[in-house]
């Protein structure tokens, strides 16, 4: 059933573009959402089938972009910008505070599969650093002392 619904949704996406290949990124985003936040091999088959492309092509495209995950991620995603504007105002301490609160290193997921912590490149909130995104929603600015409250909120769901 999912395949049919998925095809229908992809058809709507491809109808926006003069060339259906332009729908690869939106279709991958949709597939990632339907697969719990990451793209298993089966997702590339689904996207490929929906757009008349090979799974390998779809995987090659997905692997180029940071927002596509080729391995499982936690239920929640906490991303800390550590680029220079944020680093100048203490992103290191913010990231380390998250590592401490969650008991994991940047790039890892908590054992219960709840939270993935990532350091990321510039989020575009430089004047309001440190920028942290929780499930893709920006928090600006975040200081090290704000971290335990954010983690508690994320853990509550």
């Amino acid at each position: 059933m999912r395949a049919t619904t998925f095809q229908k949704k992809v058809d709507e996406l491809r109808a926006q573009y003069p060339d259906p290949h332009s729908a690869v990124l939106p279709a991958l985003r949709l597939a990632q959402k339907e697969h719990g936040g990451w793209l298993p091999s089966s997702a590339f088959v689904e996207v490929g089938d929906a757009l008349d492309l090979t799974p390998a092509y779809c995987k090659a495209v997905a692997s180029f972009y940071d927002m596509f995950h080729l391995a499982p991620v936690g239920k929640h995603l906490v991303e800390v910008c550590t680029n220079i504007s944020c680093a100048l105002v203490g992103a290191q301490s913010v990231l380390e505070a998250f590592e401490g609160e969650l008991g994991i290193k940047a790039g890892e997921t908590t054992d219960d599969g709840e939270v993935t912590l990532r350091a990321v490149e510039c989020f575009g909130g430089c004047g309001w650093g440190t920028v942290v995104a929780v499930d893709h929603r920006y928090r600006e600015p975040v200081r090290a002392e704000d971290v335990s409250a954010i983690v508690e909120e994320v853990r509550r769901g």
Partner: protein, 437 residues
């Protein structure tokens, strides 16, 4: 301090300009009506007269770019993939006055006889995507589109897609790797058709030009080369980081100390990056330089994307160089060898210098690597790594030398950038969650 005119950001402090009626109340979409009453060529002529130049970083004359377009089905593509570190002004335009961007799209589409507009917005800008989507719905309901379609296309996390030819590749559903030019997009762009591609701020300036007239616009700022206003992003060690619309010609001192509120804690200014992380650094004694293209070039840097990053005395310039190089290494698409290999070598050498393990000759080797990247790739990403790092060595040679001489960082763990961490440092390929059966 120079008066700060608000042309693009007009009304954003007083009104909720995400609403069409509020935008209308400050004269919104009047310029569209005016432009649609003009011949397309006359609209392009106004833009030429204004001498508006691209606000994405290249500062190319917008009107000239529009007049190069070949015949046939034409596309207008708006570059909303704002990712240059330090830059967040396009985001401000999109979340605080989205209709100005949409109005700019519709006027520009009319000017170039195009019915197909794509706004390529970086994937991380979720809230801005939602605001633009809702604003577009209002415009469609009001019947302002007149046969033009605007597609909001979300990126998926790749700095390189802010480079125009990589953006077009990405929009075509491919990996975002730059194209060899010529042909330029004006001849062969999206789907190999003539394409005009401009930055968000550039397109959002078009309604202002139609409203006040190209000749009036050309009197603002520092004519003839740096006309009009600029939305600058101020970040780093300043009290009031944020976006400010200013006339070209305001000095860096005014930007940092008046608008930015100066450096917290009474600390001393060490350096300023005046145009996003890819441009050469300026030193504290250069801040009386006016913020316009010619003055910035004379000072040895550029306005780039309008991002001013303020660095106080606590920062180690080797750590800064390392973090900048790590960013560009992470974002290098891998197509051109000098960039793919060179950014990696830069990171390795900077790590050694910071750790105090570098030989004297490796300082010059680092400069040599920078020189072997500059101007040798299909796109400017490699240059964007090499130019700033070479400038840090040039301007702060003694600090780099001290790392070599003393066998480590002279800041002794007290640099504001100490323990600086980059995404390339994390282990991304070791999933710790079981794959569900």
């Amino acid at each position: 301090m120079a008066e700060s005119p608000r042309l693009l950001l007009k009304g954003t402090d007083e009104r909720d300009l995400t609403r069409l009626d509020e935008y209308r109340a400050i004269g919104g979409y009047d310029a569209l009506e005016k432009a649609r009453g003009m011949e397309p060529a006359a609209v392009v002529e106004e833009i030429l007269t204004s001498n508006l130049r691209g606000r994405g970083g290249a500062f190319f004359p917008t009107g000239r770019k529009a007049s190069f377009l070949a015949q046939g089905i034409r596309y207008l593509v708006v570059n909303a993939d704002e990712s240059e570190p330090g830059t967040f002004k396009d985001r401000e335009i999109m979340f605080s006055t989205p209709h100005r961007l949409i109005e700019g799209c519709l006027i520009t589409a009319h000017a170039i006889n195009s019915e197909h507009v794509f706004i390529y917005i970086r994937g991380e800008y979720l809230r801005e995507f939602e605001i633009l989507r809702d604003a577009l719905d209002q415009v469609r309901t009001e019947g302002l589109m007149r046969g033009v379609t605007i597609v909001l296309h979300r990126g998926a996390g790749a700095y390189i897609c802010g480079e125009e030819s990589a953006l077009l590749e990405s929009l075509e559903g491919k990996r975002g790797q730059p194209r060899s030019r010529p042909p330029y997009p004006a001849v062969s762009g999206l789907y190999a058709a003539p394409t005009l591609i401009n930055n968000v701020e550039t397109i959002s300036t078009v309604p202002v030009i139609i409203d006040i007239g190209g000749a009036e616009f050309a009197k603002l700022g520092v004519p003839p080369n740096s006309t009009g206003t600029r939305v600058v992003s101020i970040s780093g060690n300043v009290a009031n980081g944020g976006n400010y619309e200013v006339p070209h010609g305001i000095t860096l001192r005014e930007l940092i100390y008046d608008l930015g509120g100066g450096i917290p804690g009474g600390r001393k200014l060490k350096a300023v990056i005046p145009g996003g992380s890819s441009v050469p650094v300026l030193t504290a004694d250069q801040i009386d330089t006016p913020y316009d293209a010619d003055s910035m070039t004379a000072a040895g840097s550029m306005m780039g994307s309008g991002a001013i990053i303020v660095i106080d005395e606590r920062a180690c310039m080797v750590q800064l160089g390392l973090r900048v190089a790590q960013f560009y290494m992470h974002e290098s698409c891998g197509k051109c060898t000098p960039c793919r290999e060179g950014t990696r070598w830069m990171v390795q050498l900077l790590h050694k210098i910071e750790a105090g393990d570098a030989e004297q000759s490796e300082l010059d080797l680092l400069l040599d690597v920078c020189d072997r990247i500059l101007g040798k790739c299909l796109c400017p990403l490699g240059d964007a790594a090499a130019m700033p790092v070479a400038s840090y060595i040039d301007k702060f040679r003694a600090e780099f030398q001290a790392h070599v001489d003393h066998g480590g960082c002279p800041f002794g763990g007290e640099s504001s950038l100490d323990r600086v961490f980059a995404p390339v440092d994390q282990h991304t390929h070791h999933p710790t969650v079981e794959v569900p059966a």
